[in-house]
């Protein structure tokens, strides 16, 4: 058993949590959009700028070699975080969106054939819908949507039925919904896809923050996540891909760093993963991501998951008890994201009032318009939790929501 988190010590590591918002304590319940940054990440990035910075992969001087080492150490950490078999399976991208687009462009156009189908689900973020629509329109693949149940879980029978005609070449599906908090049963999703000869990309933008990921145990073919939701900086994310898949894929963007040699007649490509990393990368952000990964590992996913499960149970109980409040999504297996509506107030009005109390939530369609349509909603308010979230903050949210409802009496 892990010891419970020492929240006082954890919160003290996030300088921003000491900020006052219009004189009130910041209650930051928008971590699913982007998480706050611990001192370790801030110090790693500032420290690099102050004492150890140059361009990487090309310099023959001390600074460049040291900076290259620091940046490449992140690849080892990311491989360890996901339990990848090989550090060359870690491709750095700007964010999850870029990782998905890379797969859609390179695997989609280079390996999938026109007439083959890509399966997504009804609870995808726009970033895991639009690239596949673009692929469909450019390349002649089909786009299939696996439905969800009314509780907000993937309908597994309907999912499996999508494979019946043998056309599915790729499944691209969220590992945890940013709106409903539902986890998808990744192992079953992958096993069914593999049984039918299809590869699987998991969008781990939310899941990797809350749960230990093991791409080998899952047998995932591709896995993407973004640094800024994992307490790291913006501008850096990770695409994991099985090595043989990455090697069979053509490059996506051309430029420096991704080549083996260049003449005007032809160029040859660098080995994976560099083949996919054209141009000077987000060096400082990569260094920051390494600090974030190590920080998360030091706390440990067992403690994180236990803390967030307790918060989510508490949040569901407190919010559900508010008259007129409806929690959206009732998945059995869920993480620290709670979307809700209130009978008397639109989500934007809720968010504006909560903001006056110092509480930051998201309101809107959460970049998941088709899911909103499926649920028959225009928008929801969403409270999402991080390592630093406390039970007291959730109590304050619940008490304040009761007052919001009174305000709109």
């Amino acid at each position: 058993m892990n010891a419970p988190l020492d929240l006082t010590s954890i919160r003290a590591q996030f300088p921003i949590l000491a900020q006052k918002i219009r004189g009130k304590d910041l209650v930051f319940l928008d971590s699913a959009a982007s998480a706050q940054k611990p001192r370790a990440v801030i110090d790693a990035m500032v420290g690099a700028m102050e004492s150890q910075y140059a361009n990487i992969h090309r310099g023959l001087h001390w600074m460049s070699e040291r900076t290259t080492d620091a940046y490449e150490a992140t690849r080892d950490s990311a491989a360890r975080l996901l339990n990848a078999a090989d550090r060359h399976e870690i491709v750095f991208v700007r964010n999850s969106t870029e990782g998905i687009n890379l797969v859609a462009h390179s695997y989609g156009r280079g390996v999938l054939r026109p007439g083959q189908a890509v399966v997504i689900s009804e609870m995808e973020h726009h970033s895991n819908i639009v690239p596949w629509q673009m692929l469909r329109d450019d390349h002649g693949t089909e786009l299939r949507v696996a439905p969800i149940t009314d509780t907000g879980e993937l309908d597994m029978a309907a999912y499996e039925a999508l494979f019946a005609d043998g056309k599915v070449g790729l499944v691209a599906i969220t590992h945890m919904s940013n709106v409903l908090g539902s986890y998808t049963p990744a192992e079953r999703i992958i096993r069914i896809a593999h049984d039918h000869g299809a590869k699987v990309l998991l969008d781990g933008s939310q899941a990797v923050v809350h749960r230990r990921i093991d791409v080998q145990a899952l047998d995932a073919d591709f896995y993407v996540f973004t640094g800024h939701k994992l307490y790291g900086p913006t501008g850096i994310g990770v695409l994991y891909g099985k090595r043989e898949l990455l090697e069979a894929m053509p490059p996506w963007m051309g430029g420096g760093d991704m080549i083996s040699s260049v003449t005007y007649e032809r160029s040859t490509w660098a080995q994976v993963p560099h083949k996919f990393e054209a141009g000077t990368p987000a060096i400082l952000e990569g260094i920051g991501l390494n600090a974030a990964i190590k920080w998360v590992e030091a706390i440990g996913y067992d403690a994180i998951a236990a803390h967030e499960a307790a918060l989510t149970d508490h949040g569901l109980a407190r919010l559900s008890a508010i008259e007129g409040l409806t929690v959206i999504g009732r998945a059995q297996d869920r993480g620290g994201v709670i979307s809700f509506t209130l009978d008397r107030a639109h989500a934007h009005d809720i968010a504006t009032l909560l903001d006056r109390a110092g509480i930051a939530v998201r309101a809107g369609h959460h970049c998941a318009e088709p899911l909103m349509r499926r649920l028959g909603l225009e928008s929801t308010a969403r409270a999402s939790f991080g390592i630093y979230t406390t039970t007291a903050e959730i109590d304050f949210l619940a008490e304040t929501l009761t007052k919001v409802r009174e305000f709109f009496r």
Partner: protein
């Protein structure tokens, strides 16, 4: 706890947001346009009927969104009644100034119907809620079917 929010959520806004007086589709109309705020999902549609001289004889709207956007649409209907297209566009420019700064002294009289929204300038993320119906209205005047608050 929220008493200081009464500058934005004043009696007029709450009343118009909840029970808009002009929220109806015109069956007999000369122009219509939709407005979307892609960042938050708010949607509005505006219908216009012109008088013989081209001025606005009737305006109807349908809105799905927050109190601010619905109240803004409802008040807009009264502000533009009887105005020409050019006059309406000038009024929108003035309303934007009002929404962004809290006042527009040169057009205070014409903007009187919109004055209950003046406090929205204190809430930068909500200004688009107030201007969205106007974007749809101007798109309808220009014969465009859609507009965006972005």
């Amino acid at each position: 706890m929220f008493e200081d929010l009464r500058d934005l959520y004043n009696a007029t806004i709450l009343e118009r947001g909840r029970r808009p007086r002009h929220m109806r589709r015109l069956d007999d109309f000369d122009a219509t346009a939709k407005g979307d705020n892609p960042m938050c999902g708010d949607r509005v549609q505006v219908w216009l009927k012109y008088a013989g001289d081209g001025s606005i004889a009737a305006t109807g709207f349908d809105a799905r969104g927050c109190e601010i956007s619905k109240a803004a649409a409802d008040l807009m209907v009264e502000a533009v009644a009887g105005r020409s297209a050019d006059d309406t566009k000038a009024l929108f420019a003035a309303f934007r100034t009002l929404a962004q700064t809290g006042s527009c002294p040169d057009h205070a009289a014409a903007l009187a119907p919109m004055a209950p929204l003046a406090a929205v300038h204190e809430y930068p993320s909500r200004i688009k809620c107030a201007t969205l119906p106007w974007h749809a209205l101007i798109a309808a005047l220009d014969g465009k079917g859609v507009s965006s608050s972005e």
